[in-house]
Symmetry: C2
Subunit: 158 residues, 2 copies
């Protein structure tokens, strides 16, 4: 297509463009569904999921950012907005006075508990119900491989 450029072969190109489309459309679809019956965005949901994962619903800011793979500043801004809505709170850290916790509030817990069932149904309908066991296996390997490559790419040879 573009002269002099080593592009992908035709098959790879089709797959690649479709993947890019999925990456655009799947989050958009999940967001729409989530907001249809809750006041949570997909990002809110992801934050709340990580907090419900751990005892007491408390995580250090850096740990939460690490789990989400978000930049700390993005998380900080997001937490500010969620705090304003009463979904989470900030708490000082006694062990290390520089640090801070993000803590799930009761309202946050209630919000995710009410939103989760419908959200899971959408994830099942759009993804897991449509895939065979082999395809889920393949997806597991593919995502693992790609994540490893990205990580490796970021840490050039020591």
């Amino acid at each position: 297509v573009t002269p002099g450029t080593a592009w992908l072969d035709e098959r790879q190109q089709r797959v690649w463009r479709r993947w890019l489309l999925v990456q655009n459309q799947l989050p958009a679809a999940l967001n729409r569904a989530l907001q249809a019956d809750s006041d949570l965005s997909l990002q809110d949901f992801e934050v709340l999921v990580r907090l419900t994962d751990v005892p007491q619903g408390r995580l250090r800011v850096t740990e939460l950012a690490e789990a989400l793979q978000w930049e700390r500043s993005r998380l900080s801004h997001h937490v500010t907005r969620m705090q304003r809505r009463g979904l989470v709170e900030r708490e000082e850290c006694r062990d290390d006075a520089r640090g801070a916790f993000v803590v799930l509030t009761q309202a946050g817990r209630t919000a995710i508990e009410q939103a989760a069932p419908a959200h899971v149904r959408v994830v099942r309908r759009l993804v897991f119900d449509a895939l065979s066991a082999d395809e889920v296996d393949a997806l597991a390997r593919i995502t693992e491989t790609v994540l490893a490559r990205i990580a490796q790419d970021e840490r050039p040879q020591a």
Copy 2:
């Protein structure tokens, strides 16, 4: 359509979270790489790719938005910014005076031709070089299936 509050099973949950991470990190990695040796964002690149796909590098706004699966207003804003940088131009449509074309400029063509080789190398390194032929096949099926489900989900009133 499973009722109740069932979450995903353990395996599905692992796969699902990893997929969400890929969806965050892969675009970020591509963006970083792209900006390292060009002045294009991934979004700029995607717009330019679609325009180089077609003769004369011209597309109606709606067709381009459709190809990218972007909202028209997002595309309109983006085109304004790219136009300011000289990468594309707008052109009136003679057949339908409501319509408009987005047209690749020479500078836009040069920009993508210079950026493409390195970008493709990154896509290969992070994705295709790491996957077996079977995995690429699986990825093709998976993305197709999920896109179909999303499309189906959007069709109003069953």
